[in-house]
């Protein structure tokens, strides 16, 4: 860290309260231009490093295989839209459908069961409450590879290998620790007065949960729901062992890379990548505050 050149703020009388650093808004005025320029150069440098591979992959989806490797920096001579049709025929359509079915079922059930468990653990006192909570919380730390071989046989004995229901149930189970942990914290912050009023009006425990608490928890549900959508859509380890016959998109991409090593249809591979990337990037751009908040909050607590 070599940003020691200009420290012009030292000794400046703090006649007006200093702004809180962090939001980064507000115009830079006089002085410190050197630091400012240096910061932007470095930050833009990393931005380019992150963005160029993705932009390059998007562009490659419209090039021929020869262009991708022969002249990686140039624009395609003609846009190869047929790459997308070939990618679709190589199974991407089917993989995408599998992903959509599994993620829809997985996220709906994860949010339902996760909120139910978190709500009860956060709002009711009963013997074993802490134990169950820590049991869920511990699941966030365990390496999934410790369990993968026995898990395969659990799913196999249930006759659920390469089935939608098998993947959905496993996704739900492995998403529960984070969901319960996060929703637990969220339900704790909600005020009790409204729930008490509902009880006085004769609402049942179940009624209070579905009609009062869940609607109040909407911001938390949204943020953790998006987290689960991305997490389950991107899941690779679990389906590659548990659903070899019915691959989801992330698996399909890996399989396509392996087969292009001898088929050589790299344009179609990048078209498949684009199909896999675009929905995720759209969700990210629409909800990036919730995504960043959801992903990081689990680590902070």
């Amino acid at each position: 860290m070599a940003v020691t050149t200009r420290t012009g703020d030292a000794g400046t009388p703090a006649s007006t309260p200093p702004r809180q650093a962090g939001d980064g808004r507000g115009p830079g005025r006089t002085g410190d231009a050197g630091v400012n320029v240096f910061s932007h150069v470095v930050l833009i440098g990393w931005s380019v490093m992150v963005a160029v591979p993705f932009a390059w992959a998007l562009l490659a989806s419209l090039k021929t295989s020869r262009e991708i490797f022969g002249s990686p920096w140039s624009l395609p001579a003609a846009f190869q839209w047929s790459n997308f049709a070939r990618a679709w025929d190589k199974g991407v359509g089917e993989y995408l459908l599998n992903s959509i079915v599994v993620v829809t079922g997985g996220v709906v059930l994860t949010m339902l069961f996760g909120s139910m468990a978190a709500y009860v653990l956060a709002r009711y006192r009963f013997p074993g409450n802490r134990l169950i909570f820590y049991l869920f919380a511990a699941g966030m730390m365990f390496p999934v590879f410790l369990a993968i071989v026995p898990l395969f046989f659990v799913v196999k004995n249930l006759g659920m290998l390469s089935t939608y229901q098998g993947l959905i149930l496993v996704y739900v189970a492995y998403s529960l620790p984070f969901t319960v942990f996060f929703m637990h914290a969220f339900f704790r912050t909600l005020p009790t007065s409204i729930a008490e009023a509902a009880f006085l009006d004769g609402c049942s425990h179940t009624g209070v949960f579905f009609r009062v608490m869940l609607p109040m928890a909407r911001p938390g549900l949204l943020s953790i729901g998006i987290f689960n959508v991305l997490g389950q859509f991107n899941q690779f380890v679990l389906p590659s062992f548990l659903s070899p016959e019915r691959p989801v998109l992330a698996q399909g991409i890996a399989t396509l890379l392996a087969s292009q090593r001898y088929e050589g249809d790299w344009g179609a591979l990048f078209a498949a990548l684009t199909i896999a990337m675009v929905p995720v990037v759209v969700v990210y751009l629409l909800f990036y505050r919730q995504v960043q908040a959801g992903l990081t909050s689990g680590t902070l607590k």
Partner: protein
């Protein structure tokens, strides 16, 4: 009323707990049992062999190679990610033009945009990232990375095809993909530090660098420590990147073998489910030990604010 309440509690917990018990807890517990058997995973018959699997692991050169590679990732990756993320968070928060007007330390403009871009790799699936980098790091002279090297006057290199470089390519992609997440994390932690602490530091005459190292960093210590544990777990658990990106996978010449890959190969290809479970148990204890060491070694007095 009391009775109804317990029925409600049980009713809400039974399905989530059952799913969790069947698909998460039971496999974890079974792994410990299978690790002491010679189960192939195919035949229903097997014997308990005690610690024989663990003894065999000590002489399994491929496994030891995998452990060594994981160790390299474990040492370098968290360090690189945390230093880079802290550096960028520092620039975002105190790298802006300020001063002269008594406005104090400020962040750069457009920090929202930088966070948006930096974070992007985190939301895409590992196979997508692995495929992109596998093609960028194409070993032929016309590959993208090699064309950059040629552009700055260096010769082309084999990248993932070079046994001496392949592991560092994996390491680079891991770092590249993780920095944004930890930048956002550190940035959020920095934003929650109360303003009057910065105010006080300014009144005491601290510059922006001194403020960062003397005020911000100590207050971030908890977050850094947690990040370290998470990154260490990530380094131990790495699978998808290696499985998709490297030749073999795990090659060339086993230079990118990792524990998770060994578990997958022994458990599902070589018919050595018991042996693979023993590797899983070793992985589990590595995780446990590292978390404990990290939390102990980096323990400091917690600063409340």
């Amino acid at each position: 009323m009391r009775h109804g309440q317990y029925r409600f509690i049980v009713g809400f917990l039974v399905v989530p707990l059952a799913l969790y018990a069947v698909f998460v807890i039971s496999p974890f517990v079974q792994a410990f049992y299978y690790s002491m058997t010679n189960w192939t995973g195919v035949s229903p018959q097997f014997e308990v062999v005690g610690l024989a699997n663990f003894k065999a692991l000590l002489h399994d050169s491929l496994f030891l190679r995998a452990v060594r590679n994981n160790a390299v990732l474990l040492v370098v990756m968290p360090l690189a990610v945390i230093l880079a993320a802290l550096f960028y968070a520092f620039l975002l928060n105190v790298g802006g033009g300020g001063g002269g007007t008594g406005v104090g330390v400020r962040g750069v403009r457009g920090s929202g945009f930088y966070k948006l871009v930096f974070f992007l790799p985190q939301v895409l699936s590992v196979p997508v990232i692995a495929v992109i980098w596998a093609v960028i790091l194409d070993p032929t002279p016309t590959g993208l990375a090699n064309s950059v090297l040629r552009g700055i006057g260096l010769g082309s290199t084999g990248w993932l095809a070079d046994p001496n470089l392949a592991l560092y390519c994996v390491l680079w992609v891991l770092v590249w993909g993780s920095v944004g997440f930890y930048l956002v994390l550190f940035n959020a932690a920095m934003s929650s530090i109360p303003k009057d602490l910065f105010e006080a530091a300014l009144i005491d005459g601290a510059g922006r660098v001194a403020t960062f190292f003397r005020v911000t960093m100590p207050l971030l210590w908890d977050t850094i420590q947690t990040s370290w544990v998470y990154l260490a777990v990530l380094a131990l658990d790495v699978y998808a990147l290696v499985a998709v990106m490297t030749a073999g996978p795990g090659g060339p010449a086993n230079s990118t073998q990792v524990i998770s890959l060994q578990i997958a190969q022994n458990g599902f290809q070589f018919g050595r489910a018991g042996y693979a479970s023993a590797m899983g148990v070793v992985l589990f204890f590595f995780t446990l030990v590292i978390a404990a060491i990290m939390l102990r070694a980096t323990r400091r007095e917690r600063i409340e604010y």
